[in-house]
């Protein structure tokens, strides 16, 4: 039991966390009755995906991807040349690569986009909830389905 925890979960604990969070979001998206609670489930679901991506780019001991003393670093990196290509990526711990001081910027960029997209979707969902409430006076899904069915049976 303890070995399972240490060997499987601990090196990947960020992935376990995000899976649990995502499943909480997915469960409330499907199971909850109130439309607003479904939307909250959607928001949790999307946040878990964002967490997953950001955790991809983490490097031990690295700082944020902003070149602080950019003057010195830029000259060093440019003169060192393109020696940090894929051929060095084998498991042997090579001499510490100066690029390891900075976290991977790509997941941050991707997630800026994903967060904005998530907010936009939530905005549209809220607008729809407002109009549904105005039309039917309730936001509970079972009552809504009953009222819609009643509408349909009248027609």
């Amino acid at each position: 039991m303890v070995e399972f925890f240490l060997n499987t979960v601990k090196p990947h604990f960020n992935f376990w966390v995000y899976v649990i969070l995502m499943m909480i979001g997915l469960w409330s998206l499907i199971a909850k009755n109130n439309l607003i609670k479904k939307m909250m489930g959607l928001a949790i679901f999307q946040s878990a995906i964002i967490l997953f991506y950001v955790s991809i780019g983490v490097k031990d001991g690295a700082t944020i991807p902003v070149l602080e003393h950019y003057g010195d670093y830029a000259e060093k990196a440019v003169s060192a040349g393109p020696d940090v290509s894929a051929t060095e990526s084998s498991p042997a711990p090579a001499a510490s690569n100066p690029a390891d001081a900075f976290a991977n910027p790509v997941p941050h960029v991707l997630m800026l986009t994903a967060i904005v997209v998530g907010v936009a979707t939530l905005g549209v969902a809220l607008a729809l909830c407002e109009m549904i409430f105005k039309e039917f006076d309730t936001l509970e899904e079972d009552e809504l389905l009953r009222k819609i069915k009643a509408l349909h049976d009248d027609a």
């Binding site: 990947h12 830029a74 997941p107 997209v117 936009a120 905005g123 105005k134």
Partner: protein, 263 residues
């Protein structure tokens, strides 16, 4: 079928599939993972290229901004289009032009921050806070090249400053300062700026969003500074659109489309 039961089954199955996939993922924090350093058989790692070469290409120390606004600027343009499309969708759903349809949510009449002595504390605090928020927001937009920041963050803060006026006083106060005509015009203007920075290189013969060739127009010493300045230009475009749409979404949602009353 009972939704909770069905949801539990769906969640268990999905969770197991996801956990199956992470069996041989790299350890958390590994600098030699494929995402951080590339993998055999593929092109050289883009992440290492960005960290090492992007300062030389663009003279922008914030790696996230240089990737966001230059290398992957096409994505950012469409992200701004998503924000714009969401705003338009919300107007299309909510906005009742002309007659007032049905009950307004709440109709405060005397809560303007300029009147009513009960609101002095809130009104004064708001008057002190809003300019500071706006200046900080402009700082965030402009300093996005050197520190975490950029168009989206600054735009949201600018939108939030107008929302603060609406919360502290009346929606009409905020609309008086930022009317519907203005925010509709500014929303599209922001994307026009972005797309304009993309189309100008096409007119000059290069591909879409190739800022380097703009050195002839911006009169800089080399393509790198042209890229740096164009990045600032597109970030400003993004900030304008995001500011307008954030405030527009708030105004429409809080008043259910009528733009009268509300919070």
């Amino acid at each position: 079928m009972n939704p909770k039961f069905f949801a539990s089954i769906a969640v268990v199955i999905t969770g197991l599939v996801l956990l199956y996939g992470i069996a041989d993922f790299p350890t958390f924090g590994d600098p030699r993972s494929p995402a951080n350093s590339g993998v055999e058989g593929g092109a050289p790692s883009t992440s290492l290229y960005y960290i090492n070469e992007s300062y030389g290409d663009t003279k922008v120390p914030n790696l996230v901004t240089s990737v966001l606004a230059d290398y992957r600027g096409y994505d950012t343009m469409f992200e701004t289009v998503v924000v714009f499309a969401a705003g338009i969708a919300i107007f299309a759903i909510l906005r009742c032009v002309g007659k007032d349809d049905g009950a307004v949510i709440s109709a405060p009449t005397k809560n303007s921050i300029d009147g009513d002595h009960n609101r002095i504390i809130v009104g004064m605090t708001c008057r002190l806070a809003v300019p500071v928020v706006q200046i900080f927001a402009l700082y965030v937009v402009a300093h996005g090249h050197h520190s975490p920041g950029g168009g989206f963050q600054g735009g949201v803060m600018l939108g939030a400053s107008f929302i603060l006026i609406a919360l502290a006083g009346n929606l009409d106060d905020a609309l008086g300062r930022f009317s519907e005509k203005s925010y509709m015009a500014l929303a599209s203007l922001g994307i026009l700026i972005y797309a304009g920075f993309g189309v100008l290189p096409q007119v000059l013969g290069k591909n879409f969003l190739d800022y380097g060739v703009l050195q002839k127009i911006l009169l800089t010493d080399g393509p790198e500074m042209a890229r740096s300045h164009s990045m600032l230009g597109v970030e400003i475009g993004v900030a304008i659109t995001v500011m307008s749409i954030m405030f527009a979404i708030f105004a429409n949602l809080s008043s259910r489309g009528t733009l009268k009353g509300g919070l």
